[in-house]
């Protein structure tokens, strides 16, 4: 927030119509919660059905043991991911992305690409609407691809030449490299800072520090220090 005093000279066109979105947000909150709670309830009824209707209950021991082990690995992510991605996704994007799943590998890149295609800045209302449209379209596209593939079994994949199939294991570096390129055009200095910080965080020896939160925090701090120096 240290930037506010320095950026006052800007045109101050702060979010036109932010007030006109009140109705939009109340609908998004309502339907976002209704859809997410319905999925939570269905997700819990399914194992109950397997355990107690079909009678395959494995006993609470292994269930609790498995859940604790899973939660120990993922608990921080479950709690922190919504906070971490909120600034980019906004209210509507958060409801959409978490129900759609595959957030870092599909939703965030689609949201960033949609914002970029129409020149909307992340963190603005226009950016949030663009992200919502991008993730919504991505979610529908995902289902449209998923269902025929599941029904067609692995046939479609077997049609791919083996060389192409092997390359699909490298899809994650391709997605992240591509998105990083998109940001490097807009903010080259930030991108250099981000990559340097990330590599330092990943390669330093202390395991607990090899963490996305450390990486984000350091990148933001360094970039803001650079901005402040530029203004002076």
């Amino acid at each position: 927030m240290a930037l506010n005093d320095t950026s006052l000279s800007g045109k101050n066109k702060a979010a036109p119509g932010a007030e006109g979105l009140t109705d939009y947000y109340s609908r998004i909150h309502f339907w976002g919660r209704v859809t997410i709670w319905s999925v939570i309830i269905l997700s819990l009824l399914l194992p109950v059905y397997l355990s107690f209707v079909l009678g395959y209950h494995p006993g609470w021991g292994p269930i609790i043991a498995a859940y604790l082990a899973f939660a120990a690995l993922m608990g921080l992510a479950w709690a922190m991911e919504p906070v971490l991605y909120y600034p980019t996704l906004g209210v509507s994007g958060t409801y959409l992305a978490f129900l759609t799943g595959n957030i870092s590998n599909m939703c965030l890149p689609s949201a960033a690409a949609a914002q970029n295609s129409i020149g909307a800045e992340p963190g603005t209302k226009k950016g949030e609407i663009a992200a919502t449209l991008g993730i919504g379209a991505a979610s529908i596209m995902n289902v449209a691809i998923l269902i025929p593939i599941i029904f067609g079994g692995s046939y479609l994949l077997s049609v791919l030449p083996p060389g192409a199939q092997d390359m699909l294991q490298y899809i994650l570096p391709a997605i992240f490299g591509g998105i990083l390129g998109q940001f490097a055009i807009k903010k080259p200095v930030y991108a250099v800072v981000g990559i340097t910080v990330a590599l330092a965080v990943i390669m330093q020896p202390v395991g607990a520090w090899n963490n996305i939160f450390v990486s984000i925090l350091l990148t933001v701090i360094v970039c803001m220090l650079i901005e402040r120096r530029k203004k002076q």
Binding site: A15, P47, Y49, L99, S110, T124, I150, P173, I175, G177
Partner: protein
């Protein structure tokens, strides 16, 4: 093993998967409609709405196909409907794969091995479903509070420029960490990431120069292909 799969592909499980997928599609369509309606309030033209939708859909093709690869390798252990509802939708493919192994292990079995009984499958389903509910619970309960906090913060700041810079820096930090984590896995990973990044930069420059909207919409999909091709040259 085949009995377990008969259970996993049973009608009631299909019913659950069908309902969950319907809710996800319903939410997607509804939010697109609400966002398009509000687009003029944030100064977005109809053309920009179409462009954002097309870009989102095109950008999802590559990631979605990659998700399917993981999904198909897990169908043999989880069956069609569970794979559909957990890996493809709601969950995240690598994390669900991890959860499935943890669940089977807690029952003293291995996915697909001889001890992988109906009870082992049930343990896996409990693990995945309870795990997925955790993250959704946080979103359902706290997103409204985030919105209120944001409103307070933005009403204090005079204009949004600082917020934009911080958000952009945070995003770059997150994607740098993801990309860096992949790039250090091996030299092919590194070449794939660099190839995708460089091709993206070239496409964006060209699109800006010639004002090619379609190239911006296709850029992420094409960058993914270019990255994979770069890696292919080095294998």
């Amino acid at each position: 093993m085949s009995e377990v799969m008969e259970i996993a592909n049973g009608g009631v499980i299909w019913l659950f998967a069908g309902m969950i997928i319907s809710i996800v599609v319903f939410q997607g369509l509804l939010f697109i409609r609400l966002a398009s309606k509000s687009s003029s309030a944030v100064g977005m033209t109809k053309g920009e709405v179409q462009s954002a939708l097309r870009t989102g859909a095109i950008s999802a093709i590559g990631p979605s196909l990659a998700i399917m690869v993981i999904a198909i390798s897990l169908i043999t252990f989880l069956g069609d409907p569970l794979t559909l509802m957990r890996i493809g939708i709601i969950g995240s493919a690598p994390i669900e794969a991890l959860g499935a192994s943890i669940g089977a292990d807690a029952y003293g079995a291995q996915l697909g091995a001889a001890g992988y009984t109906a009870e082992a499958l049930t343990t896996v389903v409990w693990t995945l479903c309870l795990g997925g509910a955790g993250g959704l619970f946080v979103v359902a309960v706290f997103t409204k509070s985030f919105g209120k906090l944001e409103k307070k913060a933005s009403s204090k700041s005079k204009d949004g420029k600082g917020v934009i810079l911080i958000t952009t820096a945070a995003l770059i930090g997150a994607f740098s960490f993801f990309a860096g984590g992949e790039a250090v896995k091996g030299y092919i990973h590194l070449f794939v990431a660099v190839g995708a990044g460089v091709s993206m930069i070239c496409m964006q420059k060209l699109a800006d120069k010639r004002n090619l909207v379609w190239l911006k919409e296709w850029s992420l999909g094409l960058a993914i292909l270019a990255g994979l091709f770069t890696g292919y040259l080095f294998t």
